[in-house]
Amino acid sequence: MFDPVIVKMLAEGFLETLYMTFVSSAVAYLLGLPLGIVLVVTDKGGIRPIPWLNWFLGVVINLLRSVPFLILLITVIPITRFITGTTLGSTATIVPLVIAAAPFIARLVESSLKEVDKGVIEAAQSMGASPLQIVFKVMLPEARPSLIVGSAIAVTTILSYSAMTGFVGGGGLGDIAIRYGYYRYQTGIMLITVVLLVIIVQVLQELGMKLAKISDKRN
């Protein structure tokens, strides 16, 4: 089992998993963060209510969120091929991961921003702050600890999704677990991948919580 070939494979899988997770998370945040902001700002109690836009985005997000990931994975294959030129390997996996994670992140960001005290926003308005200034100078900084906790949740969720992409040849630790553990009954290798995944999740989660705590000036 400690065959150098296998060790090398596991190490590569480990790095691939990290690569998929972080790149997907970054791209998903690029989409999800603005989306979450728009959801809060255009809400009926928000600083710039736009009911139709809020309704429309809500519907799209809910639709995407209600499709089970495995089904999404298969449905978006044409899109994946169009964007990456392939449907195999870790880079190809990034596309469905982003599509699944962005709406989830939008909701996480939305709930973090909604926690910001209405009174503080009102105070900023009373000083003549524009909606854009309120977003960047009040809502995002005030929600920072909660946004960090949210990002730890998002990243670990994306990690677990990335393992599922193993079923369609997505690469990374999930792929190894499925090829060796599921198809070839090499339980040992499967267990190691599981342990590695657990460790990554734990570390990320802890890190997120610590960072959130350090950055929070409320206590």
Binding site: E122, A123, Q125, S126, M127
Partner: protein
Amino acid sequence: MSEPIIKIQDLSKSFDTPDGEIKVLDGINLEIYRGEIFGIIGVSGAGKSTLVRCINFLERPTSGKVFFDGKDLASLSQKELYRTRQSMGMIFQQFNLLMQRTALDNVCFPLEIAGTDKKTARKKAKELLELVGLPDKANSYPSQLSGGQRQRVAIARALATDPKVLLCDEATSALDPSTTREVLALLKDINKRLNVTIVVITHEMKVVEEICNRVAIIDSHLIAEIGTVEEIFARPKSQAARRLFYPEGKQLALHGDRCCRIVFDGNSASEPVIADMVLRFRTTVNILFADTKNIDGKAFGQIVIQLPQEEGVADRMIEYLKAKGLAVEEVEGFV
């Protein structure tokens, strides 16, 4: 007096709620002059917060106009409105400080919004923290400060853009009595030193007593009464005013006897007059209610007495009191 800094004309405000439209303010007219401390008092839910929020257009009036420094706020573009709000500071019951910023950075905040450069902003913020008595708390976060200290930071923050007006919505309601007194003293000092017009929203009589020059009483969507604090204390005309000033009056029942209200407006002390009268007429009177207050070293307030049964004596007593220069009115179902 000169042109008012704030002028409210026929202002009404309704809200659409699931249970239909509710009218919160109905035909409000107000003029607030430069340099004064103006109180707006009323019970909870009377619409006080809504009224201040209309002054800086955080809430747009359903009808009517608000003029600030001669400008009709409704005629301003969004950008102009943002700029105008920079000349109106506001403080709140819950302080509403940015919890993730230090005291100094909180005071810098409105300057950042206004586009002031960082160095100038920090210098100004330091001066203001000194003005409010917190020079040593610049680097503390709001969570590390007491309620009174937080309100001081909020005051410094509201003053950062050199506003002409400071709007205070229940600014002392979350503070204990001694801290309240300190914060009120600070506001009074700011009013004098910086010549900032202050609008104080409160439900507490003692706040008005302590710092206001003039006061408007707001009751069931309307302004019930408006005048100088002395006037209203001495001769409350509206039911609302009497309820606010003399809440205990309510509990007194009358038994069909003649009563009269003696008003003290700062020209005489209360005790000797009643005592002298009792000695002179050799008959006692029943004091149903008494509440006199000391404002600026003068006695204000009222005493309600039950007059003796004998017709003649009662009339002569009233004459006597009037001759002493007191305002006397016979009251029937008193408050």
